[in-house]
Symmetry: C4
Subunit: 318 residues, 4 copies
Amino acid sequence: MEYRKVGKSGLLVSELSLGSWLTFGAQLDIDNAREAMREAYRAGINFFDTAEAYASGMAESMMGEILKEFKREEVVVSTKIFWGGNKPNQKGLSRKHLLEGTWNSLKRLQLNYVDILFAHRPDPEVPVEEVVLGMDYIVRNGLAFYWGTSEWSSKELEEAHKVADRLNAIHPVVEQPQYNMFVRERVESEYRPIYEKYGLGLTVWSPLASGLLTGKYNKGIPEDSRLAKFPGLKKHLEESKLFSSENLKKVERLAAVAKKLDTELAQLALAWILKNENVSSIILGVSKVQQLRDNLKALDVKDKLTEEITKEIYSIIE
Amino acid sequence: MEYRKVGKSGLLVSELSLGSWLTFGAQLDIDNAREAMREAYRAGINFFDTAEAYASGMAESMMGEILKEFKREEVVVSTKIFWGGNKPNQKGLSRKHLLEGTWNSLKRLQLNYVDILFAHRPDPEVPVEEVVLGMDYIVRNGLAFYWGTSEWSSKELEEAHKVADRLNAIHPVVEQPQYNMFVRERVESEYRPIYEKYGLGLTVWSPLASGLLTGKYNKGIPEDSRLAKFPGLKKHLEESKLFSSENLKKVERLAAVAKKLDTELAQLALAWILKNENVSSIILGVSKVQQLRDNLKALDVKDKLTEEITKEIYSIIE
Amino acid sequence: MEYRKVGKSGLLVSELSLGSWLTFGAQLDIDNAREAMREAYRAGINFFDTAEAYASGMAESMMGEILKEFKREEVVVSTKIFWGGNKPNQKGLSRKHLLEGTWNSLKRLQLNYVDILFAHRPDPEVPVEEVVLGMDYIVRNGLAFYWGTSEWSSKELEEAHKVADRLNAIHPVVEQPQYNMFVRERVESEYRPIYEKYGLGLTVWSPLASGLLTGKYNKGIPEDSRLAKFPGLKKHLEESKLFSSENLKKVERLAAVAKKLDTELAQLALAWILKNENVSSIILGVSKVQQLRDNLKALDVKDKLTEEITKEIYSIIE
Amino acid sequence: MEYRKVGKSGLLVSELSLGSWLTFGAQLDIDNAREAMREAYRAGINFFDTAEAYASGMAESMMGEILKEFKREEVVVSTKIFWGGNKPNQKGLSRKHLLEGTWNSLKRLQLNYVDILFAHRPDPEVPVEEVVLGMDYIVRNGLAFYWGTSEWSSKELEEAHKVADRLNAIHPVVEQPQYNMFVRERVESEYRPIYEKYGLGLTVWSPLASGLLTGKYNKGIPEDSRLAKFPGLKKHLEESKLFSSENLKKVERLAAVAKKLDTELAQLALAWILKNENVSSIILGVSKVQQLRDNLKALDVKDKLTEEITKEIYSIIE
C-alpha cells in the first residue's frame, strides 16, 4: 500500500481507503464492519470515511465503536456534514447545523476530533463566508485538522479560497468527488486549474460506478446487490443514464481488457484511477470482507497499466 | 408554517415565533408558558425569543426549564443583553456587561449557547469597536452562533459592519425592530439600503402595536389587558401617541377590511407583516394559549392579501 | 459617589476606589481589610485594585478571600503583573511571566477573570509585540476584560497602540500613573495628546503624595506612619525630593486653603484630582478604616473647588 | 550562571542548559537523571531540553517525572516534534502530527504547556503555511509560550517569518542548530542576516562535537563512550568526516591551548561558544553527573578567553 499526500497538505492517506456509505449500519452489521476495518488496517489502509447522513448516523456510531481498538494517530478519520435530519436547521451548511452536526458526529464517533471534516455538498442558501468561518471555527477549535468539500464545482472552490484569503481563515485542502471510468469530467477537466493553484487533494467515491464496473449488472440485477436493496439508488442511476445499454457494452469491452491482463474488471477500474496522480485515495465501499480483499488486488494491477493499455481503455470509454 | 432565512444567513426561523416579553414570568406561569411553547412547537414554530431584561431574568429561567423537553437542534433560541441590573456595569454593551450578562443568561437558560445574541439597544457610551469585539468573542467562543441588534439605527448598523470589516470580526446578521401597521418608518424606509448591502434579517416585535391592532382598546381598556396590568407601558404608549383617537379610527376601518375577508383584525395585521419579505419572523407575545392559536390563523390569511387589498390597507394607514 | 468611564471604554469605575498597596497583608490584617472593603462598598466604591507584587501575593490572596462576599458583576477588580518573584522569568512582561503571573494571580484571587490586567511597568527587555500579543491572549481567553499599563511613557503607549493595530490585537484602555499636587507632569502634559487619540483612562495612585498631602509629615514622621514602617519608601521619597522643605512649606499654604474651605488638606487634595476629567478613579490606600471614611468626604469638597480656589491652588503648587 | 534572552524574546535561559538526547532513558536511568537535573538546578541551570524522538518518548516521560519537584515558573522546558513513530502521519510537521505529537509529548511530560516547542527539522513535504498555522494554534491555545526550529536553513526561516506576517500568525523566536569549533558555518555565516532582522535566539547542541572536543577519542574509542554505545552515531560521524585525522590533530593543538590556560579542552570549547553573543544557551548532554560538574567549570574559563587566545583558537580551527 502506498500513502499519498492529500493535495499539498501534510496529511498522508493510503491510496485505497474504506468508506461506510450504504454499508455500515445497513449491509454490514457491527461484526462484519469490524472485520472489514481490521482487514483494511492489516492491508495498510489508514483512512476511514463516513458521514452524518450515512444510515442516519448509525454508520458513524458503528465506526466509532470499532475505532476504539485502533491507535488514534495511526488512522485518518473523516466525516461529512450536510444531511443531519429533516427539521429546519438540521441540514445544509449554516453555522448552526455545521457546528451542531459536527458536535453530534464527534459524539457518535466517540472522538475529540476528526482528521478531515467535509462539507458534504455546496449549499447555495448559505453565504460562503458563513461556511468558511464555520469551518475555520471547527479547525481552530481542534474539532478537525483539515476541512474539505464534496461535489463542489470549481467555481465554488475558487470562491471559498478567495473568501478564506480575505478573512484570514483556514483553507480547504481536499474534495471528495465521484470519479470512475464513466464519470470523469469534473476530475479530469473542471478541476484542472485548481489542483496546482490551491493544492487540492481528491478522495474519490463510487470508483466502480455503483457496481457497473464490476460487470455484475451485465447479466441483470443480482438479488443481493445494492441496486436491488436500495430502490432509490436504482432509480437515480437509471435517470442518470449510467446504466445505459451503451455503457453496458463498454463494460464488456473493458472486461475483455481486464481478462487480457489476467485480472478482474473491478481491479482494472481501481488501478486505472490510481494512475491519476491528483487522486489521493479511492474510497472503497464493501458489503462483504471478500470484496475488500478482491479490491486490494488492484494494487498489483497498477504496474500492468502501460501507456498502451491506458490508451486502449480511453479508446473504449471516451 | 413556512421557514425563512434570517437575512442572508443560513439560519432558518419559522415565520411566526414566540416571544416572552411581558408574558413569561408575569402573565404566564411556568405551566401556561410550557403549554404555550408546546402548542407553538406543534404548530411548527421553531424560534423562541427572550432577554435578560424580561421579568428580571425569570423569563429566561422559565424558558430554559421548558426548553429541556425540546431537542436543541430543532429550536432557535435568542436572548438579548442590555438591562441586567441597576448597578454600574450591569447594563449596556461594555465588554464587562456583554460577557457577564451572556454568561448569566446562558446559566438561566441552562444552555451552552444561544442561536442568536442580540444587543438589546445601541449604547452610545461604548465604542462600537468594543461591542463588535465583544460579540466576536461570544461567537468565536461558541456562546452564540449569530449576533444581532435591536432598535439600532441604520447609521449604527453601517458603523458596526465597517468596524467588523476592519477588525476581521464576525458581522451581525439580524435586527429586531418594532414593526406593525402604525410603526413602519424604520423597516420600510430607513433600513432599505441595508437589506441587500449587508443581508440584514428582521425578527419584528409588537406586531399588533401593543394590542391596538386587536381592536380591543376601541372599547376602552379591558381589565385583563397588558395596558391595565403594566401602567408604565400605558403611559409610554399614550405619550407616543400610538393610542390616539385618529389611530383608533383607523383601527375601525382596518377591522372592516378584516371582516370583508372573513377574518379577525389581529390576523390581518400579522398576515400583512408577513407580506414584507425582509421580515424573517414575527415574534408573538401571548398571555393565553388561545391567543396563540388565534394568531396562528394569520397563516391562512396571507393568501387573501391580494394586491388590491394591500392597496386598500395602505390607503388607511398612510 | 459618581461613576466614570475608564477612558472611552464601556467600563464604569467609582471616582474613588480602594487599593491594596502597602496595606493588605501588611498594615491591614484580613479582618481590617474586610472591614475596609465593606465600608468602601457601602459608600459606593466598586473598584478594587491589587497587584501580584503587593505583599508578595498576600494582598491578592486577602482581597480574593474577601471578594467572595460580593457579587462578581458589581465589582471591578484589577491586578498587575511585573514582579512575581526573584528567579529569571518571574518578572517583567515576557509571554512566560505575563501568562504564568496572571494564572497565579487569578488563583490567589479565586477568580476566573479580572476586569483589568495592568502591565505594572514597561519592560524594555521584551519586544512590545510580545507584550501586546500576551495581553491579547489574556483578553481573548477571558482572563481579563480589559488591559492597561502602569507608568508607561506616552511614547511606549503610542507604540503599543500601533502594534495592536498592526497585529489586529486588543488595545490597552487605561494607564495607572502617579498623580497628585506634587507629581503632575505626566498626567497634565505628557499624556495630553493620548487621551483623545486613543481614549485613555486613568486610575491614579499616590493621590496624597505618600501622605505628604495629609500634612502629617509637617511635624516630623509619626511612629505609625508608612514612612516609619517602610524604610525603603522613606529613602526613595527623600531621594526624589518630594519631602523637601520647599514642598513642606507648600503643604502649609495648601492646608490654609483647606481650612478656609472648612475641610482637611487630604480631602482638598483628593477633590482637586477629581476635577481632572481625564482621571477615571483615584486609588485610595488606607491603613485604618477611619482614613477611608475621611477620604470619602472629599466627594463633598468637589463643589467647593471654584475656579478661583483652583487658581489659588495652582499659584501655590506651580 | 548568567541568563540570556532567547533572541529578542522576553524568555530568559541559563547560558548552560541540560539536554536529554542519548542520555535520559538510555545512558541515564531515572535516578541518575534526577540527580543530574537537581545538580543542574542547584548550579543555576533553568533550561531543560527534550524531544518526542529521544529514547522513543522515554526521555520526556523521565524528565516529566522529575520536573514535578520543580516549580513550573522557575524552569524553561522545551520539546521537539518531528519523529513520533514509524506509521504514516506519525512524523514530520503536518498539522496532524504537529498537534497529536504535542498532545502526546505534554502527556508524557505531565505538563499543560512547554515553554518552547521546536519543529525538530524542516519538512519539505508540508507547506510552510501549514506548519506556521499549526504552531500558531499551539501557542494561541496555551500549549507552548514560544515556538522555534531546529536545523532549518536561513531560507526556510525567512519563509516562515514571511508567512507568519502574511497570516498574522505567531513568529518563531529560536533555532536549535549544531554548533561547535568544528561545525560553524550556519551559526557564524548563514544565519548572520537573520539575527537582527528577526531577533533569532540560538540554543545550540553538540557543543563538544559528539565528544571529539573532550579529547577522549584521540586515544581511540573508549568502551563507555557514546560512540561505542550508539553504532549508528559512530557511522554517521565517520561519514561526516568530523572524526578525521586532520580534526584529531586540531584537537591536540586545542588541548595545548587549554592546558596553557590551566583548564580542560571541553571547558575551553564550551567557553568559546559562550563568547558568541548570538548563542542563548548551550545544551549539555551528560552521561554522568560528574560530567555536568566538569562542564559547569566552563563558566570560569570565559574570562580567560582574551582576544589573543580567541585569535589563536581561530588560527587552529579555520
